[in-house]
Symmetry: C2
Subunit: 87 residues, 2 copies
DNA sequence: AATATTTGTGTATTATAATAAACAATTTAA
DNA sequence: TTAAATTGTTTATTATAATACACAAATATT
């Protein structure tokens, strides 16, 4: 298999997702920061794939109405019993 | 609609997921902590729905081979253009 | 029942995410 | 092309996640 996904990849992808959604809603980093009661620097770092806290991530996810999706995805994973259903 | 999902709900669900997967693999909190080079206290707090860092979450997700799933889910969300496809 | 293992909880310390402010670099609008 | 807005980066400070103990409570194991 080519291209195993790394933790860094996921952090970069999360950052991209934030940036993309933010731009769809025509918000600046500053706008988003104010809306979520976070500093612009926190948004800035997150969008560039740096580490963050779960609260920060979930605030952002929630702001773009994706919290329910995430919750259901987690429920799904929990009910998917095991290791790589490849059979 | 009844029961809007909150950030706290998602953190609790993440903790549950960790606990469940860990038990499937017959690991103690200590085992998992050692495997991921984290303290048991960090695992302990995470499983009980406390705040954590993204790195901690992704280390855990990765250990249970769910990183790829998560990445694909994020890609999916990124390509799902907009607000509640309810139409 | 007694012992061993695991989990929950407390305190103190360290590492680092988050904040705040300023300024440069870049992008967008006039 | 200039001005305005946005984004990137730095430094210093504060808040808090993570660590490293220890010990009690709860769950298995014998």
């Amino acid at each position: 298999m080519i291209g195993v996904i790394t933790i860094k990849d996921v952090k970069l992808q999360l950052g991209e997702l934030c940036k993309q959604k933010r731009q769809i809603y025509e918000m600046s980093q500053e706008d988003l920061a104010v809306a979520l009661d976070l500093s612009r620097y926190t948004i800035q770092k997150f969008e560039n794939g740096k580490n963050a806290t779960l609260d920060t991530v979930l605030k952002i996810v929630n702001h773009f109405d994706l919290l329910n999706n995430l919750y259901l995805a987690l429920k799904d994973i929990e009910n998917t019993n095991d290791i790589n259903s490849l059979y």
